[in-house]
Amino acid sequence: MKAILLLSGLGIIALFAELFRFRKALYPIVILGLLGTIATAVSYWWYDDGEYNKYFAGMIDFQGSAVVLSVIILSVALLWFVMSANYLRTQTSETDHTALVLFALVGALILTCYTNLTMLFLGVEILSIPLYVLAGSRKNDLGSNESAFKYFILGAFASAFLLFGIALVFGATGSFDNLSIAVFVEANKATLPAFFYGGVVLMMIGLLFKISAAPFHFWAPDVYQGAPTVYTAFMSTVVKTAAIVAIARVFISPVFGTVSEFWVPIMGVCVGLTFVIGNFSAAVQTSVKRMLAFSSISHAGFLLLAVVAATSFSAKSIIFYTVAYSVASLVAFSVLLNIIRITGSDDVESFNGLGKKSPLLATVMTIALLSLAGIPPTAGFFAKYYVLTAAFSSDHYWLAIIGILGSLVGVYYYFRIIIAMYFREAKEGVEYSVDAQHQALMFVTAVATIVIGLLPDLILSIGTPAAVVAETLQK
């Protein structure tokens, strides 16, 4: 819980940086602050006994899976700051950007630990509103404006759906509290009014929108492409993780878990559509940024497949998948950032001949793409394996097969970049230089991708009782 306070404080400090002229020191402050927040969050791992972890009159409960997932989110955010430092420094409103990102992180943390539907709504809003602003932060760029506008309008709709859904669920059960709802639903399963199910569907729509699952994904490609690349990276890592946690905490826990036979078929259809639409749309893109946007839709499909499977494997596979996917995405986006800086374009062709011109960029990009495509020995393979096991063990054979076929299409578009890097010739006279900070970041994340892939137990058995994590997610 203190992590949330610390993070909010950090955001406020960032706001004052301009005023009190310590702008230059902001970056180290943020990095140290985030490290401190991670340490605080980790310290909660050893307290899982009641009141200490609860806050806001029990509306959030910071323990078990919440600790693990918030540490994941914060670590990814830390890496994100390292990646984006150069970009932020060039912005006139650097301090505002930093503060907004930190506030968005607060929202993400709330989503990992909420035990009350009002906190769910607050978390979603705290996460989304800074992002609407950040997506449009390149004020003079038409694409950025379009991105922010689309994101805001459609996001507002989704929030309304979510809120209406929460209201209906409240109307049917008389409570916002997860546990009370779960108890009520369990006891009165046979006599629940139809509008309760309406509420469940509306909440699902609102949350599926946030994670950009089909058929509620239409905003994603334009928003991802129009927004400044660093924020695209933020959206497809931190935001995606937070959104899947938000979904998991209501849908695979007893809150709606007891009526799973109602929503599983609906979400199952969405997962199938997500695989098909995400992958096939990604396959026809020529802009790498847009391709990554569509591919993040298909990854959302895998994350949701774990939710749909709703077995003992689900929680762990979500945790593993978010780590593997976020790390690989960060690598891919930092390479993309450099490519855009060097060649001025995010087209597949701008990767031509990278294998010869800059072996470092090409190698780490290859590792990232292999991981995204799910090929051993990278982390992405194990993530996919784990989700597929969850799907097979709950007899969702068809969704698993569609997922498998989808990842084959995935290989097509990821490998287009690999082929461009190693097979085609580069334009002459372009200088490929990467600064030390990015080099270090890429090296660390690429090595992590392989190490996690070879030793998945590192993640799966965080703090020995991985089973505890699984339990608390399902509580």
């Binding site: 090929i375 051993p376 020995p377 096991t389 063990s393 097969i401 084959l408 097509y412 490998f415 097979f423």
Partner: protein
């Protein structure tokens, strides 16, 4: 321990090679692969002299927990069946590296690092006794060969290697699905998880799965193996890839990598789903036999020599596949499997020789078009002799290595069905026709403008061809060591499968 060393040595060599520069990489890789061959021969010697020694068994196996949370172990072991293929790998890799000694590679250290990396994965596939580990090695073998073909391949390699990659990956993913289904049907052990141990998977496949599930698992696995070999109608990636890949890549693909598929049939498919084999046996044998005839017919029509060898490889491997799948739980005959093992070794040696010959012809004349060539024998009789020996091995003349395997294979298929054997037997006749015809066109007849300048063989070329020819004759005259080392294990495997279906 020895088995682990066999995997570790090429891996260390590959990593070291990444830090070298220039042409020296070839020599380092060659020395490393010779060391690996020495190690493999040592393992062979141990296995042969004391096959039932428990101390030795524990030396050859290694089983340490890897991913404990899902019951995956780093479980490797060596028996006769694995040994033959490990030996093949260890024998061919130095030959393949040697064959490129005179070639100028762009970035030789990376090339040889990939070759050594691939050797690591191939040995891993042949010794893995854990489903997950097997799958990881299986996929690991694909990555280096993909990059070898993409970086050093010929014209249009982007598209063709991509097709190759997607095809094989598609197969692998279905195998993964099949393995997961098997895994979920294994009992939950003391550690609280299911198990990927091969014995547990065997048991799940034989006793737990329903008939439909067994069929699904059977097809999931068959698809992966059939694409890798390849068997009709999953072969369309193969000719283009073999032709486009750099010759050393083609050698790796055809000499060793396709054996992953045939080995998979023996070790993973037959024991896992014996029931489904009874049901689907006729279908898959029909596919194998069709690929024999179809590929032979296409080989007859080829004008490009390298492409002709590619099709002949499909024909040979079709017969191997038919021989393995002809195994019947009712009779428990092992001729097919034994023959397949021998033929895998022989085919590996022969096809590497043939592709090297195609490479020599291309280098010295500038073309692989059979019709443009002719009369090379007049210019280089030595080359003609060596070519003839490899060719005779390939058409399975008695006293060459191809004969033993092919004889046993057709014998195995014959016991299954006379008709299948009759049709599959065509491979011998058709093989002789297209190989001898191409020999005639390339080597005999009048020397023409293209072939008149055929330079004498270099020492390096001679060395490679001598090694290959020696192997062709040696294993033709005296195949006993290979037969001996695996016979017990093949029998054990066969009786294990037959036991499992008895009520």
């Amino acid at each position: 321990m020895i088995t682990a060393l066999l995997i570790g040595l090429p891996l260390v060599a590959a990593l070291l090679l990444l830090f070298t520069n220039g042409e020296g990489a070839k020599r380092i890789a060659f020395v490393a692969s010779l060391a690996e061959l020495g190690l493999a021969l040592f393992a062979f010697y141990l296995l042969r002299t004391s096959p039932h020694d428990e101390h030795l068994t524990s030396q050859m196996t290694m089983n340490v927990p890897w991913i404990t949370s899902i019951g995956v172990d780093f479980n490797i072991a060596m028996d006769g069946i694995s040994m033959v293929l490990v030996l093949l790998t260890a024998f061919l890799v130095p030959v393949i590296i040697l064959s490129g000694f005179e070639k100028k590679h762009d970035n030789p250290s990376l090339f040889h690092a990939l070759v050594m990396f691939m050797q690591m994965a191939l040995v891993g596939v042949f010794v893995a006794r854990d489903g997950f580990l097997f799958y990881v090695f299986w996929e690991l073998a694909l990555i280096p060969i993909y990059f070898i073909c993409l970086l050093w391949g010929g014209e249009n390699r982007g598209k063709i290697t991509f097709k190759f990659f997607v095809y094989t990956l598609a197969g692998s993913l279905f195998m993964l699905a099949a393995l997961i289904v098997l895994y979920l049907n294994t009992p939950v052990g003391l550690s609280g998880t299911h198990s990927f141990n091969i014995v547990a998977l065997y048991d799940a496949g034989q006793n737990v799965l329903s008939e439909t599930e067994q069929s699904l698992v059977f097809w999931g696995m068959f698809l992966a193996f059939a694409i890798k070999m390849p068997v009709f109608p999953f072969h369309t990636w193969q000719p283009d890839t073999y032709v486009t890949a750099p010759t050393q890549g083609t050698m790796l693909l055809s000499g060793i990598m396709l054996k992953m598929g045939t080995y998979g049939l023996i070790r993973w498919l037959l024991p896992m789903t014996p029931g489904a084999l009874e049901t689907w046996g006729p279908v898959v044998i029909a596919l194998s036999v069709i690929s024999v005839v179809y590929a032979s017919a296409l080989a007859l029509a080829q004008k490009d020599f390298k492409r002709l060898i590619a099709y002949s490889s499909i024909a040979h491997v079709g017969l191997i596949s038919a021989g393995i799948l002809a195994f019947s739980t009712k009779t428990g005959t092992t001729e097919g499997i034994t023959g397949a093992m021998i033929q895998m070794f022989a085919h590996g040696v022969n096809v590497v020789g043939l592709f090297f010959i195609a490479e020599i012809v291309l280098n010295k004349t500038g073309t692989r078009e059979i019709n443009e060539l002719g009369g090379i024998r007049n210019v280089s009789p030595q080359f003609a002799t060596l070519f003839l020996i490899v060719l005779l091995g390939s058409v399975a003349l008695p006293l060459t290595n191809g004969f033993v395997g092919e004889f046993l294979l057709i014998n195995g298929v014959y016991q299954y069905s006379i008709w299948a054997a009759a049709i599959a037997g065509l491979t011998v006749i058709l093989g002789a026709v297209y190989m001898l015809r191409s020999y005639q066109a390339v080597m005999l007849g009048e020397t023409n403008k293209v072939t008149a300048g055929f330079a004498a063989l270099t020492t390096n070329e001679k060395a490679v061809l001598f090694i290959v020819c020696a192997a062709v004759i040696a294993f033709g005259v005296y195949p006993k060591p290979l037969l001996d080392i695996m016979q017990n294990d093949v029998n054990a495997l066969a009786s294990m499968i037959t036991e499992s279906v008895k009520p």
